[in-house]
Amino acid sequence: MSTRRQDEDLHISEHDLLRLTADMEEAHQATLPAMQAGTEELVEEVRTADVRRRGFLVGIGAAAAAFALTARSGEAPAYAAESSPVAKPSPYTGDLKVVALAVALENQAVMAYGAALKAAKAGRLGTVPPAVATFAVTAMNQHAAHAKAWNAVLTGAGRPAIKGVPLTNQAATLKALGKVTSVTGVARLALSLEEQAAQTYSFATTHVTSPAGIKTAATIAPVEAQHAAILHFVLGEYPVQDTFLPLDKAAKPTLLTV
């Protein structure tokens, strides 16, 4: 096959691939209404739980509130154990603490991909392959969509939206990002965030009590895992590393600083 012929093939295929991407973007948009319905259901569940909780908490001190809420459900002992009495109680308790953690993790991913793209533009990462740039933009947009969906749950429940990255590991993540000088370095860092996110959602499916919350986490975990698979491929590693998704890298609710 001649070089010219190869170029023609590539040109046509690239066009086809872009068309395919556009089709997939449509498919992505098509999933949004269902997702919105899911978050509305979750907001309603949280509101109902709040009403029940307020009734239950009459006469009980605020410091005992978080523990009482979680203990009542009997299904989220991990979070109950990690809620410590502080001067200013967190607005995020029970399932909402997991939702807040999810937003923070998503915001962290958006921040990381954004910073990487900025560094790439500034030429600090060397030559960035087109596929890697496309990956970063697409993954960043999907993480932003996840954050938006989870924030809608928080605001719907009367809690403040999580705007930044209130995580104890954020300083270390920023430091690591600042040190990265190659595409491989960025991919490795992104992989750690994607694996953490996928595992956190998998963990969440058995540690939140709300059916809508479980369903929402179940729809996001596979997508983060897909991001991780492609990052493994980019790093020259086998894309499907585990037969069963482990939980050893799942973020703990104690990571949240609000």
Binding site: A34, M35, P130, A133, T205
Partner: protein
């Protein structure tokens, strides 16, 4: 002739991976069974059997594919992917069946009837790796959507944990296959390699593997679809 083409290092690596994966399966299955609610609903057992039926079909299809000349003597990365994926789906089937039996049900050893018909219809048209990949994409998507839905619907928390641990893996299979499909479609089979030449990957190859921000479940198999009658 075929024997001469076998890469013994690759086989050794796959064999080691297979042992690791089997250990993972045993560990996870054991973890799923410990503390499992003895009063698992009938629908939960059906969901497990239907999941096993999807896994059985995937194993059967990948095994058949592995024996096709254009796979056996074709791209080594595709062949290695198929071999590893057979091991992973086999482990999933064992885990689902073990959970079903522990809950008082029986193991599902048959293939999923709905998707078996899809496979039967597709078989005459399979002429090359791209056709195999397209069929595998369909099966992996069916499994992922089913497990995403089951994660939200099974009542037993240990079963939920099992489905939640398998759905992302099937999604990764699909992501890998979509990337391979894109590269084969682009006439760049040489880039289907580990490691690949990342600098030569087409731009769109960076996004085709994860078309949705939220994994859908509208095409999930109902719990009765592959249940033991």
């Amino acid at each position: 002739m075929g024997v001469q083409r076998i890469d013994t290092r690759l086989l050794k690596q796959l064999s080691e991976q297979s042992q690791d994966l089997n250990s993972d399966a045993m560990r996870l299955t054991h973890g799923s069974l410990v503390g499992m609610d003895r009063t698992v609903s009938r629908d939960d057992i059906r969901a497990l059997q239907t999941a096993a039926s999807l896994e059985n079909l995937a194993v059967s299809v990948y095994r058949t594919a592995a024996g096709l000349p254009f796979i056996k003597h074709g791209n080594r990365t595709v062949a290695a992917f198929i071999a590893t994926t057979i091991t992973q789906h086999s482990a999933h089937a064992r885990a689902f069946n073990a959970a079903a039996m522990n809950a008082g049900g029986v193991a599902q050893t048959a293939v999923n009837p709905k998707y078996a018909a899809v496979v039967k219809q597709a078989l005459p048209g399979i002429k090359g790796p791209a056709d195999v990949v397209a069929l595998a994409v369909t099966l992996e998507d069916a499994a992922t959507q089913t497990y995403v839905k089951n994660t939200g619907e099974v009542r037993d928390v240990q079963l939920r944990k099992l489905f939640a641990s398998v759905a992302p893996v099937e999604a990764q299979h699909r992501a890998t296959l979509l990337a391979v499909q894109a590269l084969l479609g682009a006439g760049r089979p040489e880039l289907v390699a580990i490691p690949t030449d990342v600098s030569k990957l087409p731009a769109a190859a960076g996004s085709v593997a994860f078309p949705q921000a939220f994994y859908p479940s509208k095409n999930a198999s109902p719990v009765t679809e592959g249940a033991v009658k």
